[in-house]
């Protein structure tokens, strides 16, 4: 790429370098990251997105100037709540939606001028499960193979392969209408893979699935990425999913990328445990409480959060008694206090001030004919 050391693609690196209190560490860190950054540019970027903007006809800014790259073979994720701009970005990358501004290339092709070339090498699973209920599992995959201009013999073998991969051999001749939610998602994934795509785009592939189906999908995806080297671009609103699958991710909120890096980098950036404090009268006591806690030793940072306050500290276990004592002696009544080691949730809170809202994780879609074969 033109400027290997340019920062804008990784604003959090600059942040990290600055936020480290110890200058020695800061130097080491920035060295390591510069090195990593440099080596990354030696790999081929299969997706490049620069200053992408999408404004809908009603004036909504769905995507607000985002820039990121995805390397070939990488498992990359977009983590964000509903309406953050994840699906919009995927629609632009998969040639379904025209962008308002910016440059986007997929496998070196311009997403608008060379859309036809892109469609040959991408597989897409959209957020809605788009299998045709009137066709059988086998017919659904076969049809998709025809749309990719594959030869009939080639399709036949590939369909059998895919049915085995997603564990649907025994349901292959049944109409997809009668599949359970998890089976439909697995079939949908198989249809996206029929032409052996180089890049797989998955828009919330496990939303609304039961835990077993989710785990099954995760294992197929990891297998595809590791064994077949398929680049995977995934969006999710599940922290756990992003943490488990993605080698690198961007956190997106109201159309902007607020942080990006590997899950462990992002968590390390928090650099501390988080202590969530809620007060009986948050409005009244918030400012006082903030001052009191700030004056304690070993507090890294304190921010406003949904509970009321979130405190970041190296050793939360030792700090909690101090906080309780300090608040108690000033007559501030505590409602609850909890602490946890850093998670992607903390990363999200840190950058957006709110928790990521997800629909109930375990809620399986109700299916009338939800028989599991």
């Amino acid at each position: 790429m033109d400027k290997p050391f340019s920062v804008p693609a990784y604003p959090e690196i600059a942040y990290l370098a600055l936020s480290c209190c110890c200058s020695e560490i800061a130097t080491t860190y920035s060295y390591v990251i510069k090195f990593k950054n440099n080596s990354r540019t030696l790999m081929t970027d299969i997706i490049t997105v620069k200053n992408l903007v999408e404004i809908y006809s009603d004036g909504t800014k769905a995507v607000d100037d985002i820039t990121f790259n995805v390397a070939e073979g990488e498992f990359f994720g977009f983590l964000g709540p509903n309406g953050a701009g994840k699906s919009t970005t995927i629609k632009i990358l998969t040639t379904l939606l025209r962008k308002t501004g910016g440059t986007v290339t997929v496998a070196g092709y311009d997403v608008e001028k060379q859309a036809a070339a892109i469609r040959k090498i991408i597989g897409v699973q959209s957020q809605e499960t788009t299998v045709d209920g009137d066709l059988t599992g086998r017919e659904n995959i076969t049809l998709q193979g025809h749309f990719h201009q594959m030869k009939s013999g080639e399709i036949k073998n590939r369909v059998n392969e895919l049915l085995t991969l997603v564990g649907l051999e025994s349901a292959a001749e049944k109409r997809a209408r009668n599949y359970s939610g998890g089976m439909k998602k697995r079939l949908d994934l198989a249809t996206a893979l029929v032409h052996k795509p180089k890049i797989l785009f998955l828009d919330e592939p496990t939303t609304g699935l039961d835990p077993q189906s989710r785990t099954a999908i995760w294992s197929y995806l990891e297998k595809l990425n590791k064994e077949e080297g398929i680049t995977i671009f995934l969006t999710t609103q599940y922290l756990e999913e992003a943490d488990k699958l993605c080698k690198r991710l961007a956190i997106i909120d109201v159309g902007k990328i607020v942080a990006s890096g590997s899950p462990s980098e992002l968590k390390r950036e928090i650099g501390a445990d988080s202590i969530r404090i809620s007060l009986e009268d948050c409005q009244k006591d918030k400012l006082n409480a903030k001052e009191l806690i700030k004056s304690l030793t070993d507090v890294n940072e304190i921010i406003d959060s949904e509970e009321c306050l979130t405190v970041y500290a190296k050793n939360a276990g030792l700090l909690i008694p101090d906080i309780v004592r300090a608040l108690d002696s000033s007559g501030i009544r505590l409602a609850s206090i909890t602490f946890s080691s850093p998670s992607l949730d903390d990363v999200f809170i840190k950058h957006t001030g709110k928790r990521i809202r997800t629909e109930e994780l375990v809620k399986a879609p109700s299916t009338m004919f939800g028989g599991r074969r």
Binding site: L96, A116, D134, L135, F147
Partner: protein, 264 residues
């Protein structure tokens, strides 16, 4: 040619869906059959009033059969818009659009499956009319024979395509199956009743006669009717094709325009 093969796969998909939804198939046939039975029974005495039916027409069944064919074509065409709404809602349209498949094939596949279906329905209605005629001892036949039947198939399918255009355009514009049906119904009934489809023009009030003369449905009905009753009256058939062609150009342009908006 990917256009041809893709059209074929889309065509097969829609036919498979139709065959596997017997309820849909049953109701789209049931209504015209009901109409055929009801109208021909209710109005059979029209034939006894001298001068109401055109000369050479032996029964009301013989007169109304062409109108019933058109009515069936209307009903079928309206389901076309419904199907595109379903594909947009389910995301299946997007699923097709992210593949390298030919874009026009998405529309052509749908339209050709509509045409195919309406031809089968037309054949069934003609056969049924033949049975009704035989039972009542007032024979119903297509006087121009097998070629005439093929020309009727062509006219009805052509008309069906022109009308599918309206429902497809409406479907893509409104993205609502209910709206397609509501608007479709509102358009269908006046067009059908203010035409020569179900009643002889001379039987209708003068203003209706005037409207009917400009109604494309009258042209299509008259073409089918002459093929059944009078023979190859090209002076009626060719203008009908011209009028249907004109309607098709308008409605299919609207469809194409909406499709471009959906696709881009």
């Amino acid at each position: 040619m990917t256009l041809l093969s893709d059209t074929r796969y889309v065509f097969i998909r829609y036919l498979t869906k139709l065959v596997r939804n017997p309820i849909l198939l049953f109701f789209s046939l049931f209504q015209p059959i009901l109409f055929l039975a009801l109208f021909t029974q209710l109005l059979s005495n029209l034939a006894n009033i001298p001068g109401v039916l055109p000369v050479g027409v032996g029964s009301y069944l013989e007169f109304a059969a062409a109108g019933i064919l058109l009515q069936n074509a209307f009903g079928s065409a309206l389901q076309s818009g419904n199907s595109i709404v379903a594909d947009i809602d389910s995301g299946f349209l997007h699923k097709m659009l992210v593949t390298p498949m030919s874009r026009p094939a998405i529309l052509l596949g749908r339209l050709s499956s509509d045409a195919f279906r309406v031809v089968i329905q037309t054949a069934i209605i003609l056969a049924l009319a033949y049975v009704f005629g035989a039972v009542e001892n007032k024979p119903f036949t297509v006087d121009t024979g097998i070629i005439g039947i093929l020309l009727i198939f062509f006219t009805i399918a052509f008309f069906g395509l022109a009308w599918s255009g309206i429902s497809l355009a409406l479907g893509m514009k409104t993205r609502s199956a209910e709206t397609v049906f509501a608007i479709g119904g509102v358009i269908t009934f006046p067009l059908l009743f203010l035409s020569s489809a179900l009643f002889p023009l001379s039987f209708l009030p003068t203003w209706v006669q005037d409207v009917a003369k400009f109604n494309p449905v009258s042209y299509a009905v008259d073409a089918c009717r002459v093929l059944m009753i009078n023979g190859y009256d090209w002076g009626t058939i060719l203008p009908a094709w011209g009028v249907i062609g004109l309607v098709a150009v308008i409605t299919l342009s609207a469809t194409l325009y909406q499709f471009r908006k959906v696709v881009s």
